[in-house]
Amino acid sequence: MATAIPGQALGNAADFAAGSGTYTRHGHVYASVIGLPKTKPKVEVVRGKDATAVPSIGAIVTGTIVRINPRWATLKVMVVESVPTSEDFQGIIRLQDVRATEKEKVRIDRSFRPGDIVRARVLSLGDARNYYLSTAENELGVVFATSLGGATMIPVSWEQMICPKTRVVEYRKCAKPE
């Protein structure tokens, strides 16, 4: 079949189940995106271009820390699951969401530093400006960080990283390597 265009009737709703890229109205299935229509197992319209990634609740996101303050760290989300976003989304990791245990002892400055690459899970859509993110899982936290000396640090425990050049230990909420 040729390219379908939004609003194009694809078939009778009684004969086909409406899949992605389609909608049902007045007993007919119509295309809602530009793309090639498929009829099995459902009527779908497949787009040529990839859709842009948008963080959803529960998704694992990756980004850089841009700012920290005593109550939260601000993350610039650049990857959702494994799809890069076309534009950056802003999220915050609040003090209570940094780790799962001993939450009262968490200090943001001993967990993240601006420039760190962090993997986090989306908790909620948050307030008007920010997604709320969490690193309270073993696999979540800092995956890449550079030391004050400028070298890439190596995690030595779940809360410490060491600089291979200066041997200085810095504190981070490290992600467990997979």
Binding site: G7, A9, R25, R47, G48, K49, E87, Q90, L125, R129
Partner: protein, 222 residues
């Protein structure tokens, strides 16, 4: 057309040249919509390029451009499938008129162009929205019809012009998305103009579909 945008389109209609760029769905700016609701929003921005008219226009939006932005929003909103957009996201539509030929006809072209750009960006739509404009001129014995479709600037600003309309239709669904009528016009004239404008939208829809189908799926439409 616009490599940085998620979708874009360019359209020429007579002298009119319009360019539309669609960004998103992206994070909803804090200024848009109420903070409590998480529903997605469509943001429309209509601008004449400073060099679009014979007399130079400013860089800031004037009142006619703000009104046209609102017309554009009203025309596109009925076609957007909001339920398919992520929560608390925004879709930005930027339309720039590079060369104008009457405000109403420019807005009508902007509506058509923006809906193609939305489709190109992969925003789920119920239908393409096709815009059409008309000017009303007093009838005389030698001019049987007094409705001019997509008038030029000379026609729409003619001293004898009694009114104008902007119509946005969704031809596949046979629905009208937006309708704006200006001036003092009789009921018969309005009825006649609606029929003419709907016919024009339907034939323009055919042309737009052919361009989209010919450009390959999901590629930039121009």
């Amino acid at each position: 057309m616009v490599p940085a945008a998620n979708g874009s389109a360019f359209m020429e209609a007579g002298k009119i040249k319009v360019m539309a760029a669609v960004y998103g769905p992206r994070q909803r700016p804090a200024s848009a919509g109420s903070t409590s609701s998480s529903s997605p929003v469509l943001l429309c921005d209509f601008k004449f390029a400073p060099f679009a008219s014979p007399s130079r226009r400013g860089y800031l939006k004037d009142s006619s451009e703000r009104a046209a932005s609102l017309s554009l929003l009203r025309a596109l909103e009925p076609a957007v499938r909001y339920e398919a957009l992520p929560e608390r996201s925004a879709v930005d539509v930027f339309v720039t008129v590079l060369e104008e030929d009457g405000v109403q006809a420019s807005v009508a072209s902007a509506i058509t162009c923006a809906s193609v750009a939305l489709a190109d960006a992969g925003i789920e739509l119920y239908d393409l929205v096709i815009g059409c404009s008309a000017a009303f001129l007093p009838s005389s014995p030698d001019t049987p019809t007094n409705v001019l479709l997509d008038p030029t600037v000379v026609e729409s600003t003619h001293p004898s012009c009694t009114g104008s309309l902007i119509m946005a239709a969704m031809p596949s669904l046979a629905e009208v998305a937006h309708f704006e009528l200006d001036g003092s016009v009789s009921g018969e004239e309005v009825g006649e103009s609606i029929d003419l404008a709907l016919d024009a939208c339907a034939s323009l829809h055919g042309a737009v579909k052919a361009v989209i189908a010919g450009s390959g799926s999901g590629d930039t439409v121009s």
